[in-house]
Every structure is written in structure tokens, then in C-alpha cells.
């Protein structure tokens, strides 16, 4: 049980650290983001004075005037967060930040989630096979995957767009769905779903192609290491079928570190997909982040950063719990 307690404690501390980092960044780094943000909001509001409520929200998130103690600001900041108030966006004035994020989040989670799972499963299965057939021509796959791994996500996306959308015209160039067919925004219908899936093919392919190499390689190397363990020799000596040794003995043990890496990889995939969403103008959380950064919409930027961090933390937490369940050793060694 102490394993789970330790994990919960770690994620509580990390959660607190992430939120405090979010609080400290605009205050400690040079510049006065609150003043810039209020100026932007005033312009967005056509020069009319802002409501007291808006000003309070912005100063709570980005930093109050000089004189207020950091501790008071910290308390006010937590108060805002606990109410779910992330301020108002200036680039999409007067939409609240929380509303923009909740509209964008499902796009990214579905796309990145599906693509990551596909890439993980494919990489593990192929990696296990390549590791099993070590010492054959399949070993040459290893250097090839590194090339794919070293390709920047967004550059691969650019090339895919240039070939499949611009040259061949098979897939749409940008967007998450056909905005001309569905001018009213997302709706629940088969036609819309089809359009969304069609638009997701290239972005998903980009993620799978550029992340599969890491899984394949990690799994292959673990498989090679596991195959020289004594228990594999024993299994072979007992006369078990090779298939059984491969699936029940070697792969299961070799996959454990990959599972541990899954949570951490998710952070990289989210990061990589930010730039990828820019290429495809995909209406996800990454696109929102880029809009915020380019428009110096600090409230939106802080909100998106917080949500991305918390999502990755939550995913890691779940993976950790599963990992403790799969591999009893980590529970006992703490």
C-alpha cells in the first residue's frame, strides 16, 4: 500500500509545483505581462474601460501592482483557480479562457491519444519480433527507425501535406473538419464524424510515423536483453514452444520498461503535436497555445499551459498505478 501512497504523494507535490510554477513564471521573469494583457483587453474592448471583475481576474493570474505581497497574490491565485476562473482571452475577446480550452481539448485528446496508442502497440509488436529475430537482416531496421525518429514532427507533416494534399489532392490541407459543409461548428452526425476522421488521417499518420521508432527500438533492445536471461534458457530447456516463450516469457518482461516510458512519452507527444497542429491548423489545444503565444494573450497562454501540464500529469499518474499493478517489484522496492 505504501507504494500507492508514495505515488499519490508524489503527484500531489508535482501538481502543487506545476501550479506554483504557473504562478511564478509571469511574476519572476522580466517584463510586465499583466500590464500588456490589460492593454490588449482594453483595445479588444474598443477602448471602453474594463469591468472590475475582468481586471481582478487578470491581476490574480498574471501579477498585481507593486505593493501587494507575493503571498497574498498566491492566495488570490489559488482562489481563482479553484473557481475554475482562468481569465478572459484577448485574442478571442470576450470569450473566457476556460471555455476556449474545453472546446479545443477533445480534438487534441482524441487525435493524439488514438495516434499514440496505435504507435505504441505497433512499435511493441514489431519491436518484439525484431528483437526475437536478433542477428538477422531485421537488425538493419534499427538504424532506419532512427532516421524517422530524428525527423521533426512538423517537417514530416509539411512533407505529407505537400505530397498527399497539394500534389495528389487526396486529403484536406487544413482544419479538423470541413468548415464549409458544417458552418455551424461541430455537431453529432455521421457526416460530421466522417469529415473529422478524414481530416485526422494525415495528422495521425504524422504522429505515428515520428514516434513509432522510439517504441520499436526500446522494445527491441529490451527483448534482446531479456532473451539472454536465465529464465528464458530454462523455458527453452523445458521444451516450451518458441511461440510461448516469445509471448508469455520474453515479450511480457521486455515490455515493462516501455510501459513505464509511455507516460513520459505522452508529454513529448503533446509537445510535438503542438507544432503539428500549427501545420494542419488543427482546432486543438496546441493551435490555441500558438495563437496565445503569437498574440501575447498571456491569460490564454497560462491557462493552456496549465491544462496541458495537468493532463500529462494525470496520464502519468494512471500509468504509474497500472505499472505498479503489472510489475510487483516496484511496489516492494518503492
Amino acid at each position: 500500500m505504501s507504494f500507492y501512497l508514495r505515488r499519490v504523494a508524489f503527484y500531489l507535490v508535482t501538481f502543487w509545483a506545476a501550479i506554483s510554477l504557473n504562478f511564478l513564471l509571469p511574476r519572476l521573469l522580466p517584463g510586465d505581462p499583466a500590464a500588456i494583457m490589460l492593454g490588449k483587453l482594453r483595445r479588444a474592448n474598443a477602448g471602453r474601460p474594463l469591468s472590475e471583475e475582468t481586471v481582478q481576474a487578470i491581476t490574480a493570474i498574471l501579477g498585481a501592482e507593486k505593493g501587494t505581497s507575493l503571498w497574498d497574490q498566491y492566495l488570490a491565485y489559488w482562489g481563482r483557480l479553484l473557481q475554475g476562473d482562468l481569465g478572459v482571452s484577448s485574442t478571442r475577446y470576450p470569450a473566457p479562457v476556460a471555455e476556449l480550452i474545453s472546446a479545443a481539448l477533445p480534438w487534441t485528446i482524441v487525435l493524439v491519444g488514438t495516434a499514440t496508442v496505435i504507435s505504441f502497440v505497433l512499435g511493441i509488436v514489431v519491436g518484439a519480433w525484431v528483437g526475437w529475430r536478433r542477428g538477422t537482416w531485421l537488425d538493419h531496421l534499427v538504424p532506419v527507425t532512427t532516421v524517422f525518429q530524428s525527423i521533426p514532427y512538423f517537417w514530416l507533416a509539411l512533407v505529407l501535406v505537400a505530397v498527399f494534399s497539394v500534389q495528389l489532392g487526396i486529403f484536406p490541407i487544413i482544419g479538423g473538419y470541413d468548415v464549409f459543409e458544417f458552418p455551424g461548428g461541430p455537431e453529432w452526425s455521421w457526416a460530421f464524424l466522417g469529415s473529422a476522421v478524414w481530416h485526422a488521417v494525415l495528422p495521425a499518420t504524422t504522429i505515428v510515423l515520428s514516434s513509432i521508432g522510439g517504441w520499436l527500438l526500446g522494445m527491441r533492445n529490451m527483448m534482446v536483453s531479456t532473451m539472454s536471461e536465465d529464465f528464458i534458457v530454462t523455458a527453452e530447456a523445458k521444451g516450451l514452444t518458441p511461440r510461448r516463450i516469445r509471448t508469455k516469457y520474453a515479450s511480457r518482461n521486455a515490455a515493462i520498461p516501455s510501459l513505464a516510458g509511455f507516460g513520459i512519452a505522452l508529454g513529448f507527444v503533446v509537445a510535438g503535436s503542438i507544432v503539428m497542429e500549427q501545420v494542419f491548423s488543427y482546432p486543438g489545444i496546441g493551435k490555441l497555445m500558438i495563437q496565445a503565444v503569437q498574440g501575447l494573450d498571456y491569460a490564454l497562454m497560462q491557462g493552456v499551459f496549465l491544462v496541458i501540464t495537468l493532463t500529462v500529469l494525470a496520464a502519468n499518474f494512471v500509468m504509474d498505478l497500472i505499472y505498479g499493478f503489472i510489475d510487483p517489484r516496484v511496489r516492494h522496492n518503492g
Binding site: S150, W155, L158, Y298
Partner: protein
């Protein structure tokens, strides 16, 4: 991406073969499993003995690190050639190319004898931009890689060596930094820092971009180095040094760090790859350095210049290809290092290959089963 890979690979805690690795008895083929086990145990025994002897005597001989150097393999040579060629291109290319911002050329010219890689929308020569961009990206990669290596080394080695409370605190910080996704943090920091007054020309320089990338990417190597430092701490020769009354600083720098050299090199290489990729992403989003040209800023120019839509492939394909080639070359060098850190990766495929050959030659070795 790269960090996870190191975690899974080096997390298995391979033994470092010491100076005596080459002296392991070359057992005849026959019982591959037994031979491998014997060879490995022999190697481990000689390795530990050799390292211990070398450290205890504390004599700096030229051949001391030979066992820590990667073997000359196809992967290593290919990697070195690719990385060397790109580095030379980055260093010498700017000397022979025309100025990168010379717009006295026709716009959007496809590759030809006059302009080897064509021109951009503003009439810049792509070859020249590529040469300067490679130089800029390499600079950022090296600086960020060094910063990450120093930070990762500090956190990882100190946590692993001292243990106890120091370990708990340093590991907690490392793990927190590890799970917080990198690029979003970099974007947020860059957005604040680059729009601050008071930093002057530093605000959007490549040095600052490199520092931000380095400060946010050290956690992965800290985890790997901590694991190895922890295992080294329990070796006899380290215990002997402690009993002899050596100061902790001396033990860390003289006894432990030399044995971490392959890992440190691998982590540095990963840091460089990560930083070059990170810079490309950051610049592509318009958050890169403004004064200098990098491969990322080229891609950003191509994006704003509608290179994809107009079919000007010669504008956006070369910078990405250089990044991919550089990353692949560095990874290949890392594989060679990995095979030093974890000998099983090299031995197991070799043994499997030998067994298959023996089966074909009709030496009565079974051709089915897990080892065929």
C-alpha cells in the same frame, strides 16, 4: 522522444566493461548459452578487477579509457561520417556561399546550376541559407546540450552518490521537471522573456534560446546518471576510497565520473538532438532567435512564404532533411556507445547469428526454438 529511449535502454543497468573487456577468453562455439554466460561473467570479473586496480592505483595511463571507447562498427563509422559532414558544411559552407540575405536573385527559382538549391520568395539563395542555418542550429544544439549535461550531471550524480535526504529532494525535483512537458514550458518562458524590455539584444538571441532549451531538458539524463551513480557507489573500490578518507568531491570526480564517461557522452548527444529539434519547433512557431539564421527559422520563413502551397519544395525540404540526418547520425553514434554500456545488445545478436551459421553448416545445432 529521445529521453524515453535512454530510459528504457540504459535503465536496465548494464555493466560497464572495463579495460580488460578484450581479454575475455574466446570460447569455442558449441554450447552458445553456456559460452555466452561464461564469457559475460569472465568479462564482468575482469572489468571490475581492472577498473578497481586502475582506480586504486590512481595512475593515469593512456590506455585507461580504451575499454570505454565504442568499438569501430558500421554504425559508429556511418554516424561519425554523417555528423562530420554536416559539421564541416556548417563551418565551411558560409565561407563559400553568397551572403544569406542577398536578395539580388530571381525569386522562387527551382534548383539549378546558378543556385544549387534554388531561391526563396525574397530571392535568398537556399544553399547559403542552409549553410548559415546549419551553423546556427549546431551552435544552439551544442550550448543547450552542454547546459543540460551539466545540470543533469549535478542532479543525477549527486543524488545517486549521496543518497538519503539529498537523494530524495534531488530526485523529487528531477521527476517533477521530467513529467512537466518540455515544449510548452519553453514556449511560455520564451513568450515572456522575449517580450521583456531591459534584456536588450539578448532577448531574442540564439544564446538565450539555447539556454532556455538547456534549462528545460536535463531531467532525462539526470535519471539515467543517478541510476548508474547509485550502482557505482556500492562498488568495492569506491568503498575503499571512502575508507581511505578521500573527500566526497574527489571520489565523485576521480572514482565515479570516469566510469560515467560513456553515459555522459550518450546523454550529451541526446541533449544535442533534443535541442536541435526543440529549436526547430520553437523557431517554426516564430519564437526562435531573430538575429541569426537557423534551420528552424528557415522552416518558419518557408511557412510564412507559402512554400508548401506553391510547391516550392526546395525551400522547406533541405532544412528538415539536414535536421533528420544530423539526428540520425548522432543516434547511430549513440548506439555504438549503448553497446559499450550494455554489452548484451552487442553479444546476443552476434551469438544468435553464430548459432544460425552453425546450423547451416550442419554442426548438429538445432534450428528451431528461441535461440535460432
Amino acid at each position: 522522444m529521445a529521453d524515453r529511449q535512454t530510459l528504457t535502454e540504459s535503465g536496465s543497468g548494464g555493466e560497464l566493461p572495463g579495460a580488460g573487456a578484450e581479454t575475455a577468453p574466446d570460447l569455442p562455439f558449441g554450447a552458445p548459452i553456456g559460452a555466452e554466460a561464461a564469457r559475460e561473467s569472465a568479462r564482468e570479473a575482469t572489468a571490475t578487477a581492472a577498473v578497481a586496480a586502475a582506480s586504486a592505483a590512481a595512475v593515469r595511463r593512456g590506455g585507461r579509457f580504451r575499454g570505454l571507447l565504442p568499438r569501430r562498427s558500421g554504425k559508429l563509422v556511418t554516424g561519425l561520417v554523417i555528423v562530420g559532414a554536416i559539421t564541416l558544411f556548417g563551418l565551411l559552407g558560409p565561407l563559400i556561399a553568397q551572403p544569406p540575405r542577398d536578395s539580388n536573385n530571381p525569386a522562387l527559382l527551382p534548383p539549378g546550376p546558378e543556385h544549387w538549391l534554388g531561391t526563396t520568395k525574397l530571392g535568398y539563395d537556399v544553399f547559403s541559407q542552409l549553410a548559415y542555418g546549419t551553423q546556427g542550429s549546431l551552435f544552439i544544439g551544442l550550448v543547450a546540450g552542454l547546459v543540460a549535461l551539466v545540470l543533469g550531471g549535478l542532479f543525477g550524480v549527486f543524488a545517486g552518490y549521496f543518497g538519503g535526504i539529498a537523494d530524495e529532494v534531488l530526485t523529487l525535483i528531477t521527476n517533477i521537471v521530467l513529467v512537466i512537458p518540455g515544449l510548452p514550458v519553453v514556449m511560455v518562458i520564451a513568450a515572456y522573456v522575449q517580450n521583456a524590455d531591459g534584456l536588450g539584444p539578448l532577448a531574442r538571441s540564439s544564446l538565450l534560446v539555447a539556454l532556455v532549451l538547456g534549462i528545460t531538458s536535463w531531467a532525462g539524463s539526470a535519471v539515467v546518471l543517478r541510476a548508474q551513480a547509485r550502482s557505482l557507489r556500492t562498488r568495492e573500490y569506491v568503498a575503499a576510497a571512502r575508507v581511505a578518507g578521500e573527500r566526497p568531491a574527489r571520489i565523485i570526480f576521480v572514482e565515479i565520473l570516469p566510469n560515467l564517461v560513456p553515459l555522459l557522452a550518450a546523454q550529451f548527444i541526446f541533449g544535442v538532438i533534443l535541442a536541435v529539434l526543440g529549436e526547430a519547433g520553437l523557431s517554426y512557431l516564430g519564437l526562435g532567435p531573430t538575429g541569426s539564421i537557423t534551420l528552424g527559422t528557415m522552416l518558419n520563413d518557408a511557412q510564412t512564404g507559402q512554400a508548401v502551397g506553391t510547391g516550392a519544395w526546395w525551400w522547406f525540404v533541405p532544412p528538415g532533411a539536414i535536421i533528420a540526418a544530423l539526428g540520425a547520425g548522432l543516434s547511430l553514434i549513440n548506439f555504438a556507445i549503448d553497446e559499450v554500456v550494455n554489452p548484451k545488445l552487442r553479444l546476443a545478436p552476434e551469438n544468435a547469428k553464430r548459432q544460425r551459421k552453425a546450423t547451416k553448416a550442419g554442426k548438429g545445432v538445432a534450428d528451431t526454438g528461441a535461440f535460432a
